[in-house]
Amino acid sequence: MDLRGVHAGMGRWVPDGPAPDDEETPVPATDPRSIRNFCIIAHIDHGKSTLADRMLDLTGLVEARNMRAQYLDRMDIERERGITIKAQNVRLPWRVAGAEYVLHLIDTPGHVDFSYEVSRSLAACEGAVLLVDAAQGIEAQTLANLYLALENDLTILPVLNKIDLPAALPDKCAEELSNIIGGDPAEVLRISAKTGEGVRELLDEVVRLVPHPAGDPDAPPRALIFDSVYDVYRGVITYVRVFDGRLSTRDRCLMMSTGASHETLEVGVMSPEPVPTASLGVGEVGYVIPGVKDVRQARVGDTVTSAARRAAKALGGYRHPKPMVYSGLYPIDGSEYPLLREALDKLQLNDAALAYEPETSAALGFGFRCGFLGLLHLEIVRERLEREFGLSLISTAPNVVYRVDLEGGREHVVTNPSDWPTGKITEIFEPVVDAMLLLPSEYVGTVMELCQARRGQLERMDYLSTDRVEIKYVLPLAEIVFDFFDALKSRTRGYASLDYEPAGEQPADLVKVDILLQGEPVDAFSAIVHKDKAHSYGVAMTQRLRELIPRQQFEVPIQAAIGSRVIARENIRAIRKDVLAKCYGGDITRKRKLLERQKEGKKRMKTIGRVEVPQEAFIAALSTKQGPGSS
């Protein structure tokens, strides 16, 4: 999937001429034996972009850098959050000992929410450069991607970057790397992407060590989609790696997961500008424009084949994206609801993992219940809606998906706490994740304490070196979607890193806690929490609301309840004074304007029963980091 937004205005995909005609310009097939497909696995700030730049320099594709610089300027959200920018999938010519090679550098997104996309990028490669900052050592996210690469049987080239830094500890880091992937620490390449030192040798090593692609050139074509983006001029552009046969503009293409066929408008390679070609052969990496206008019709992980000569079996590993975290998104100004719908429709063109459906809340009005791959995905979508579409939104506390078994054998899937079944429940299942934490050994105690408090089960603990530890926990997803990462960072002074992947579900003793104002439930505040934490959630939420909701002319009880059982209660005392002491000549205009403002403000009030609650109170109560999972 692509997080970057539609490519409007970037000019790259403005049609600039027809694809070359096969008969006039026969394209020499690239011999698979001269192809090397590889990616770079690295943590944010460990120098991946700089290394990619240096490779473009060395291979003579300098102008690409300018393009990328422009490109980066548009990616505010990713840059602010330090998410890896996809550096393009670039075809690099390289010569070793007089022989010509074609290197394909395939980029990978760098966040845990998008581990599936990462796995598809890795599946398109035979090798991976494991790039580690020699001053910082390996991070959890990198380690997670490394494990993915190993599962995909990729050849790993361990590389230490930033060896020019005074703080670099290359020997220690090399030792750590060889402890993880085996091999001799002396074989770990040492480079400086900044100065270019060692990069030429690295490219030579890619040629020497990464296996060339192997496939059947005469079989029906099979190509893996590892990225799919929407472009306003061309519709969906898919980035593919061909495994067998040949993809050509002469054949209609067919998506094997949907069975739908589309006209093949164009195929080509990235050099680094898109260059149309007549076809793509075994081992080649390039793009296909299938003439569809929605990325859901050409999803990452799907196999492209020819409609006329259809492959019998798809490449393995396709997975339909499944939302892991749900949240309600509501416009602060109710009249912006149609704009929100339009904006979500547009985002979905480019984000196959985003799911949404209309939802109505008594407290917040009309909005959408949206499904996301994870919290970061949620935040990115929310920020894009606000920045690119100018919307002001409230999002409800994120929740995970629960499976509830009811008496009589019925099963209920809950994506919204409001839909929690009322019947007799026999068992509840919650999603769990395998979490991997990397941290300096001095923080082991405090981190284990945190994981314990979040109902984690310790799986294993390994020392990567004398002072770095890898800990694996099984944690309920619900326990980490709120503030776990922040808590982890603050307890370890920022030194711990975290990665996780879905690991099925577990039975759990969960309850739904409702928050009631004057006896009326406020749907936006209902939460599913573990039985042991229900009370503390109830107390925290009622106290917070007591502070946020202005006093009314009557006393307002705020209760937290499980079913009909009240577990916490606060009172908002009745307001006793609401009058201006003085109202003389000079005060009248001021007073009237205040009245007009109050009347305006009333329009932003939601009425729960008889209680008037300013929108701001809901926002403040919902925007806090503290969620039902924390205590």
Partner: protein, 427 residues
């Protein structure tokens, strides 16, 4: 000083509005109201010996104006910026009265009230106040029973000065007492000692004033309910004809606001203020001073009633507000700018608003609801009358009065008067 009784009220922040014509001319529609509407004059005297920590009124100490000296009497220092001193002020105020006379037309329209507020009007020599009143009398005339008030600080008057004022035609004195408790006066930065209020009242009586008012403030940091009761009792012991009692408001930009923000003193608490209001009402009613406006008890101030009943009044002086026939305007704030405009023959008006009928209805509701006489139901358009029944149902207005066609606040309703107004105007 405490602008308490200040009808002009003159808050320091001016609203936004349209420009006032250079000659101060009024729209035809406003002028038409003049013959049939009582006219009052407010004279804002923008000087104080020192600024109190809670005060955000348009007032200046002499050191702020550049003399650096604030003796008992008004200084006439040559270092004052041109036009900013008391002498220039009196001159300019009289010029503005002439401008008012012209703008209101030549009809016979004597003043029903004149009110000198501030600031501290009695920082001016009594002769200056007399000159100002004489000028108003010459230009407009006064009705037979015209009410002529000046605000005064207890320590700024004595029997001699009060006698001069009484002889010049003043009929009423409003003294800024605020509290009988020294620690409360101190937290309010008031300069006088409690005993000076008694002396000032005696002096006023001796000078022949039969209408004396006291201003009180409740809810100051550190004031206990017993302190407040003591202040009420002390005020009543002086047998005033009228008492204004105001909840302390922490206005933005004041020294008090900064002290609250820094946590040096506690902000007034609404529940405490409500308790003290009820205490005041019970004590004053028992002493025979009935409420006639939310913060006022006793013999009504006719000038102030003008504000609440939609009369016409012209506010003279820097930052003063005026109202004539649905047009409200306000003067430039600084004494020097005020004097300069008038010296150039221009209106000192800084901005104005011409109210449309709907806005005038809203203002009528918000003002008359504050009065014991209440708001006549026929002042409410039919669509708003449901609100009147609702406030009665909530115990905020009197059912018998409603049956008689008026919205009259209950005691609890007075404490929630703003909420009642919002309900009445159909929020």
């Amino acid at each position: 000083m405490w602008g308490g009784g200040t009808l002009g009220g003159v808050p320091s922040a001016l609203p936004a509005g349209e420009p006032v014509p250079a000659d101060g001319a009024l729209p035809e529609r406003a002028r038409e109201s003049v013959p049939d509407t009582p006219l009052g004059l407010y004279v804002h005297v923008p000087f104080c010996a020192s600024r109190c920590g809670y005060c955000d009124f348009n007032t200046y100490t002499f050191s702020e104006l550049g003399t650096g000296v604030a003796p008992d009497g008004p200084p006439q220092s040559p270092t004052l910026p041109s036009g900013a001193g008391p002498g220039d002020y009196v001159q300019a105020a009289i010029v503005e009265m002439g401008l008012a006379r012209a703008a209101l037309g030549g009809v016979n329209d004597p003043l029903v009230s004149v009110y000198f507020g501030g600031g501290t009007p009695t920082l001016l020599p009594p002769g200056d106040l007399a000159r100002l009143l004489d000028a108003a009398r010459d230009l407009f005339g006064l009705t037979v029973h015209a009410e002529i008030t000046t605000e005064a600080n207890p320590e700024s008057v004595d029997e001699r000065s009060l006698t001069t004022l009484r002889e010049a035609g003043f009929t009423r004195v409003s003294l800024g007492m605020q509290s009988a408790r020294p620690h409360v006066l101190s937290v309010l930065d008031r300069q006088h000692e409690p005993a000076s209020v008694g002396r000032a009242v005696s002096s006023a009586r001796a000078a022949g004033f039969d209408n004396v008012s006291l201003d009180l403030i409740y809810g100051a940091p550190g004031e206990s309910p017993a302190d407040w009761q003591a202040s009420l009792d002390a005020a009543l012991a002086l047998r005033p004809d009228h008492i204004s009692a105001y909840a302390l408001v922490v206005e933005p930009g004041t020294r008090l606001a900064r002290r609250v923000a820094r946590g040096e003193v506690a902000a007034p608490d609404d529940d405490d203020l409500a308790d003290k209001y009820l205490l005041a009402d019970a004590t004053l009613e028992a002493a025979g001073l009935g409420w006639y406006e939310v913060s006022n008890w006793g013999r009504p101030c006719r000038h102030n009633l003008g504000y609440w009943l939609g009369a016409n009044w012209w506010g003279i002086g820097p930052g003063a507000h005026s109202h004539v026939g649905g047009v409200r305007w306000w003067n430039v704030k600084h004494p020097a700018a005020y004097a300069r405009e008038l010296a150039r023959g221009r209106s000192p008006g800084h901005g104005r608003e011409v109210l449309d009928p709907q806005t005038r209805r809203v203002e009528r509701v918000l003002l008359e609801t504050r009065l014991a006489a209440g708001l006549p139901l026929d002042a409410l358009p039919p669509a708003w009358r449901a609100g009147a029944s609702a406030v009665v149902a909530d115990g905020l207005a009197d059912p018998a009065a409603l049956a008689a066609g008026r919205v009259v606040l209950t005691r609890r309703g007075r404490l929630l008067a703003d909420a009642v107004v919002r309900r009445l105007i159909g929020d």
